[in-house]
Symmetry: C3
Subunit: 154 residues, 3 copies
C-alpha cells in the first residue's frame, strides 16, 4: 500500500482527483436534466417509455423530439467530448510532476469553464458566452497536452 | 518497477481493473450490434457504405434511419454517458484506499446494472426495468464520488 | 514523490502517456472541424448561434442540418466510442507490466488506425478503408482487454 498512500499524498494528484470528481458529477447531472425535461414535457424516444401516459395510438404521440430536450442532449454530448480528453490528458499531466499552483490553475479554469458552458447552453445566454466557455476549457486541455508532450514524449 | 507491482498487488485496484475491463468490453459490443443491424437491415448513414448494395439512385435508398439501429445507438450513447464518470471516479476511488468488500460491492452493482440496462434497452423490456438499471448505476457512481469528496477534498 | 517518479520512469507507461495524448488531441481537433464547417456553411443547431448572420426569420433559416457537418459529428462520436475503451483498458494494461515492444505495437497500431479512420471518414475514402481502420483499432483494444483479463482477473 506504500505506493498508493504516496500517490494520495501527492498534492497535484489530490487536486486532480477533487476537480475531476466535481466536473464528472456535473456531467452526470445532465442525465437528470434530460430525464426531467422528458417527463415534464412528455417527450420520449422509446415506445416503452410512453406506456404510462396513454394507450395504443394515444401513447405514440409522445414519441417526438423537443427543442428543450435536444438542447440538453447537445450540452451533454459536448461535455462528453471535452471531459474525456481532460480526464485522460489531465491524469497523465498530474503524474508528470507539474508545479502545484500551475496545475490547480489549469483544473480550476477547466471546471469553471465547463460549469459556465452548461449555464450558457441551458439558459441560453447569447453568444459568445458559450463559445468563450468552450474555448477556455479546450485551451486548458491543449495546454496540458503541450506540456506533457514537450517534457515526456517517448 | 516497485511502485507498479505494488499497484497491481493492491486488491481494490485489481478488482477495479477487472470490472472496468468487463464493462468497457460490453460497451464495445454495442459497436458490433450497430454494425450487425446496419448490415442485416441495410440502413446506412454514409453514401460510401451503400455502394456494395446497389448503384446510383438505387443505393441512395439505403441512406435512412431505422428504429432498431437508433435504439442500439441510444443504448450505446447512454453507456458512454454513464461509463465515463464511472471510469474517472472509480479510478480515483480505487486509489483512495476504500474497504475491499465495499469497493467490490460498488463495482459489481455497477457492472450488473449496466449489463441489465443493455438487455432492457435492446429487448426491449417494459419500464421501469431500464430506468431502474440506469439509476442503480448512477447511484453507485454518485456514492463513490461522495466518499471521494468527503475524505479527500483538496 | 518516489512512487510518482517511478511511474514516469516506467517506459510502457510513458509510451502510453505519449500515444494517449496524441490520440486525444486528434479527437479534440474534431470539435474544431465541426465549428469550421458550421461557420463556413452557416449551419447551426441553436438559435442564439445564428444571431450574427441575420435577424428574426432571416436567421432561423440557418437552423438546419448539413451532410458535411453530420459526417464530422459521426466521426467524432465514433472516436469517443472507441477512444474511451482504449483509455480505460490501455491504462490498466500499461500498469499490468506488459512487454515494452508488444505494448508499443498496440499503441502505435491504435493511434495509426484512428488517424486513418478520421481521414477515411472525412475525405471520404471508399469502403472498406473506414471499416478496416475501425476494426484494427477495435482489435487492438480487445487484445489488450484479453491479456488483462487472462493475467489479472480478480
Amino acid at each position: 500500500m506504500a505506493s498508493l498512500s504516496q500517490l494520495m499524498e501527492n498534492e497535484v494528484f489530490m487536486a486532480f482527483a477533487s476537480y475531476t470528481t466535481i466536473v464528472l458529477s456535473k456531467m452526470m447531472f445532465m442525465s437528470t436534466a434530460t430525464a426531467f425535461y422528458r417527463l415534464t414535457r412528455k417527450v420520449f424516444a422509446n415506445p416503452e417509455d410512453c406506456v404510462g401516459f396513454g394507450k395504443g395510438e394515444n401513447a405514440k404521440k409522445y414519441l417526438r423530439t423537443d427543442d428543450r430536450v435536444e438542447r440538453v442532449r447537445r450540452a451533454h454530448l459536448n461535455d462528453l467530448e471535452n471531459i474525456v480528453p481532460f480526464l485522460g490528458i489531465g491524469l497523465l499531466y498530474s503524474l508528470s510532476g507539474p508545479d502545484l499552483s500551475t496545475a490547480i490553475l489549469h483544473f480550476r479554469l477547466f471546471v469553471g469553464a465547463r460549469i459556465y458552458h452548461t449555464i450558457a447552453y441551458l439558459t441560453p445566454l447569447p453568444q459568445p458566452n458559450r463559445a468563450l466557455a468552450f474555448f477556455i476549457g479546450y485551451g486548458v486541455t491543449l495546454s496540458m497536452a503541450y506540456r506533457l508532450l514537450k517534457s515526456k514524449l517517448y
